[in-house]
């Protein structure tokens, strides 16, 4: 259908980012194609070592899913996005396709092994999340292509993650956020993924911070070195949420705390961790 309507048309999922953008005239599509009445697009399945989320699965459905809690960071993310009302409408597929620089999902899912399944007039394809988001509000999707499913590999044993977003209040975008996924063997860090949100045009992978953790015992000194490397990787712009320097300082604090939570979770300890309000 979008093929017929042409490039001036856009898909409407939960609408919790797109409708505000339409009101601001930042987006002005000629047509909207509403995906809300299509059956079978909202589901959570566990299948050969991965979770599969239907594109129209609402944040609230993931928040309340016992299955999705197996990856605690997914629950952290879903349960903290904006507020109850937005979580009742907003969808995981819509969030990724919108590619808002402050998106919670993109930042969390990039620290996991995530594949975005897409469907368009030229057929199906699967794109790794790292290749899917190209820039702010820009994805690899063709204009007549949509997200059908988000596939998240279940992390190996000994793995733990955390997502912390610092917000001035619930409904606003984070001032800064940090997602961390660690795999430990005993006390030694085997693998690390660290992503920073709302401090760049897309989620930023802090690769030097990851390198600072790999192969190390995660004591306070090592964690501090990684957090400093994350400060350098952040590329924030000053705005009403704070100066660039303030946001860099936030990144340091969030990365430290997220690593500490991820370590405890990797050791099997249940830890509450999610969005922090000012």
């Amino acid at each position: 259908m979008l093929g017929q309507l042409g490039e001036g048309a856009k898909f409407l999922a939960g609408g919790q980012s797109l409708i505000p953008l339409l009101k601001l005239r930042f987006a002005n599509p000629e047509h909207l194609v509403d995906l809300n009445f299509i059956p079978g697009t909202s589901f959570i399945k566990e299948d050969s070592g991965a979770f599969r989320f239907g594109t129209m699965t609402r944040h609230a459905e993931i928040e309340h899913s016992a299955l999705a809690r197996k990856i605690p960071v997914l629950h952290d993310c879903a349960a903290g996005i904006a507020d109850v009302q937005v979580r009742n409408r907003g969808t995981i597929g819509g969030s990724l396709a919108e590619a808002d620089p402050s998106s919670d999902w993109a930042n969390v899912l990039i620290t996991l092994d995530t594949t975005v399944h897409c469907l368009g007039s030229s057929g199906e394809r699967a794109i790794h999340l790292k290749d899917f988001i190209k820039d702010a509000y820009t994805t690899a999707l063709a204009y007549d292509e949509l997200v059908t499913e988000v596939e998240v590999k279940i992390p190996p044993k000994g793995s733990g993650g955390a997502y912390l977003a610092f917000k001035r209040s619930a409904p606003v975008y984070p001032s800064a956020s940090a997602a961390v996924q660690l795999t430990l063997a005993g006390d030694v860090c085997q693998d690390a993924a660290i992503a920073l949100g709302s401090v760049g045009l897309t989620a930023i992978l802090a690769t030097e911070a990851e390198t600072a953790l790999r192969g190390k015992i995660l004591d306070d000194k090592t964690i501090a070195i990684a957090a400093e490397a994350a400060r350098a990787a952040a590329d924030p712009r000053p705005d009403m949420r704070g100066s660039a320097e303030y946001k860099r300082q936030l990144v340091v604090a969030l990365v430290k705390r997220a690593i500490q939570i991820a370590v405890r979770r990797a050791h099997g300890e249940p830890v509450e961790g999610a969005h922090i309000y000012a």
């Binding site: 109850v84 937005v86 009742n88 409408r89």
Partner: protein, 170 residues
């Protein structure tokens, strides 16, 4: 920014027939697809209890229930609610008797100017129907999408706890 505004005069007007059950009563109307749900409620159904505060998905004054779940009616189109059950503040009162949530907001002085109150009561409705005995932390989380600029929230928390107790007893 003004020069980027689309020429609305050239947009072809389309009318869509929809039927939405609002507070148990069917409202069949012909609407433009661009009409927001809150505009439908206030202008097409004349139910002005649902308020528009910020119109930017922030304040929650426009909160209504769609099939039992709280949504911001300024952030969805009326056509998207076609065939659904909407509850607005006007639907809380039954047979001239205030809903326990309404009564508790009054009894606890959980409002001052009252502008945010309809939205807050509907967010409370979803919370208490899932969790009749919420902790203060759970209450804070449940109404985090509703902004009140008068009360400082303390009496709202009390009102929600009281409503929960009263609804359990009912």
């Amino acid at each position: 920014m003004l020069e980027n505004m689309p020429e609305t005069a050239t947009v072809e007007k389309i009318a869509v027939n929809i039927k939405i059950n609002v507070n148990g009563k069917p409202y069949a109307r012909q609407v433009e697809p661009r009409m927001l749900l809150v505009e439908f409620l206030r202008e097409a159904c004349d139910l002005t209890g649902t308020h528009v505060g910020c119109d930017t998905t922030y304040c929650g004054a426009c909160t209504v229930l769609m099939n039992g779940l709280a949504v911001k009616s300024c952030t969805m189109f009326a056509v998207q609610a076609d065939g659904s059950e909407i509850t607005t503040v006007e639907g809380l009162e039954k047979d001239g008797k205030l809903h326990p949530i309404q009564k508790a907001f009054g009894d606890s002085y959980g409002l001052q100017c009252g502008y945010c109150t309809p939205g807050l009561m509907l967010s409370t409705h979803q919370l208490l129907s899932e969790n009749p005995e919420p902790s203060e932390k759970e209450i804070r989380k449940a109404i985090a999408g509703n902004t009140c600029r008068c009360t400082g929230y303390m009496n709202i928390f009390k009102a929600i706890e009281l409503a929960g107790r009263n609804m359990k007893g009912a």
